[in-house]
């Protein structure tokens, strides 16, 4: 069934769900096009001249086709519909492997664990850039044609090396000239991550209340807006 032109499109990974719930709660008409972090990590998603988004996986491309049908246009992207992008991080796919051989970037952790190895920031940067430069390039190209705000994932992992990896991706996105909104930095500064009451049961995603706080702040800042009827 064809829908009215939405206020925005949420394009990203599973962190999109909280953003969509926030939009629903605050009366922002949002469409969502999301794929798991692994699909993004594998580089299967790209921009497409005619369809807007293309996934090199038939089942997931079906989501694109369904959205296109709902919007009543072949291209799911439109310069009139801003994009909230929750892709480009997918840290669950790069932070754990970096630590497979005990590498740590933090001095305290390295010194406390005699079996660990120290990794320099330059090495971590080279590693992250290798795996994420394609995603950041896609964000930049997207923002060239559609008003785009990249939304960083909530700081919830507390895992070794996670903070620096997040910081590196954020730096890459900002360096690419893409608008970046970091919810935890804005909403919960100095709290060391997302408070438990804003977590889903799986412990790795923000919940609907979190999504509402994020969308509310984005509205307040004028980074997104409800379409005037």
């Amino acid at each position: 069934m064809r829908v009215a032109e939405p206020d925005l499109l949420i394009l990203g990974d599973s962190h999109s769900v909280a953003l969509k719930a926030g939009c629903d709660a605050l009366g922002v008409r949002a469409e969502m096009l999301s794929f798991s972090g692994n699909i993004w990590h594998q580089g299967l998603v790209s921009l497409h001249r005619n369809r807007g988004v293309f996934v090199r996986n038939r089942a997931f491309q079906q989501r694109v086709a369904e959205l296109a049908a709902r919007l009543g246009r072949g291209n799911v992207l439109s310069a009139e519909v801003p994009v909230l992008a929750s892709f480009g991080f997918h840290l669950g796919r790069i932070v754990p492997p970096f630590g497979f051989n005990g590498h740590r970037i933090d001095a305290a952790g390295f010194l406390a664990d005699g079996s660990s190895q120290f990794a320099s920031r330059a090495l971590a940067e080279a590693y992250v850039r290798h795996f994420r430069q394609g995603h950041v390039r896609m964000l930049r190209r997207l923002s060239d044609v559609v008003p785009t705000v990249a939304v960083a994932p909530p700081d919830i992992f507390g895992a070794v090396n996670y903070p620096l990896f997040v910081a590196i991706v954020k730096e890459m996105i900002r360096d690419a000239g893409v608008a970046l909104f970091d919810p935890c930095e804005e909403l919960f500064p100095g709290q060391g991550g997302l408070p438990a009451e804003f977590l889903t049961e799986d412990g790795v995603h923000g919940n609907a209340d979190y999504g509402a706080r994020v969308i509310g702040l984005l509205l307040d800042r004028g980074l997104i807006a409800r379409r005037v009827a």
Partner: protein
């Protein structure tokens, strides 16, 4: 004349006992195998036909672990062991899934720990002292390079240096830990002796990997002193290093090689060809003497294969310095031909904790993917109702 001497000493023609015997009876050379004679051992077979150049003096376990260090030629040995699926000990591997070009740029997988090239025995001894807890790793210098910092022990270990002295310090400590793990975990410590020339701090005596000011740091004639290490110093340093390594791993065997790569430059004021010959001769003598004196030490003749007359320089690139792929393959062919891995496996029961943790992490990532995809599916399902 030459023919007559050949007859008296045997000549190893293998054409029958009578031909080599003289009427006075046998000589100590009479029953020697063909490879004991230059004509039959070298001149006739040629470089491609050389056989029996080396046979390991040890019967090693089938799954023997090799740690490789030394000058740049040593990296070929580690690479060849890995290519053969043998147990090359990588005590300081790159982070999991590091792309090969990045790993190489940061000098992972070159030696068994990120020591960089260890050219001199003095350098080796310093690192072993650090690994054996005798010397504080922080006592060696760090060099400011503008906003970056270089490690005087490994000036090229990071492509752009370190972000801070603290980072350089932590990285060095990581290397020292790994170097100790390599010593502790190896059955054979393969060390390629590279140079007799080096530089040290005139006040502290700290040896440098490279002359300050060449790759990193800045040269100060008042602080930096040229050293031409003599036979006795080199042998002494090597024996001290081996003694300290055996305190960490009493069963450790030391396999020495001499790098066939000539000096890039000499500060000895002699011609570089003469200085190279002096350097290689001294290192070759140290290796030979150590092997003769200690059953736990062996010498593998990579130097002879590449630099010896039989090869007629065919294993060098046009610069007469870099060793060709063919040369490396020939060296490693002799290495594997002489290796004796006929003792029972010794490490079959060893667990590799990193493999277990990697498997756990993989399982966790797969579970996380499932959670993420389920959450998306639920969201899509809600959108349809």
């Amino acid at each position: 004349m030459e023919r007559r001497i050949g007859r008296r000493y045997g000549g190893g023609s293998g054409s029958g006992k009578g031909e080599n015997d003289v009427s006075a009876g046998k000589t100590p050379y009479s029953d020697l195998p063909p490879q004991a004679f230059w004509r039959t051992g070298v001149a006739e077979p040629g470089i491609a036909g050389l056989r029996g150049l080396w046979s390991s003096r040890w019967a090693l376990p089938a799954d023997a672990r090799f740690a490789t260090f030394g000058s740049c030629f040593a990296q070929h040995i580690g690479r060849a062991l890995t290519a053969r699926g043998m147990n090359w000990l990588d005590a300081e591997p790159a982070p999991g899934r590091t792309p090969p070009d990045i790993a190489r740029a940061f000098n992972y997988g070159i030696f068994s720990a990120r020591t960089g090239n260890i050219y001199t025995a003095a350098q080796l001894l310093l690192l072993v002292r650090m690994a054996a807890d005798g010397d504080d790793p922080d006592l060696a210098e760090y060099w400011a390079e503008g906003a970056r910092v270089a490690d005087s022990l490994r000036p090229a270990i990071e492509p752009s240096g370190f972000a801070s002295a603290e980072e350089a310090r932590l990285s060095r400590l990581s290397m020292v830990r790994a170097f100790r793990r390599a010593i502790a975990g190896a059955d054979v410590f393969v060390f390629t002796l590279g140079l007799t020339e080096g530089w040290e701090n005139a006040a502290t005596g700290q040896p440098y990997a490279m002359c300050p000011g060449t790759v990193a740091g800045s040269f100060d004639p008042a602080r930096h002193r040229f050293r031409e290490y003599r036979f006795g110093e080199i042998r002494g340093a090597m024996e001290q290093a081996l003694d300290l390594m055996r305190r960490i791993n009493p069963a450790l065997r030391l396999l020495l090689t001499v790098s066939p790569v000539p000096l890039t430059a000499t500060a000895s004021r002699r011609h570089v060809l003469v200085a190279t010959t002096q350097s290689k001769a001294v290192l070759r003598a140290v290796a030979g003497e150590m092997a003769a004196a200690d059953e736990g030490v062996d010498y593998f003749p990579s130097y002879e294969i590449i630099a010896g007359a039989p090869a007629a320089a065919r294993f060098y690139e046009a610069n007469l310095r870099s060793v060709t792929r063919e040369g490396v393959d020939t060296v490693m062919g002799h290495f594997f031909a002489g290796l004796r891995l006929d003792a029972p496996a010794a490490h079959a029961d060893d667990t590799l904790p990193q493999t277990a943790s990697e498997a756990e992490a993989e399982a966790r990532m797969a579970a996380d993917d499932l959670v993420c995809e389920e959450q998306l599916l639920e969201a899509y399902a809600r959108g349809r109702t």
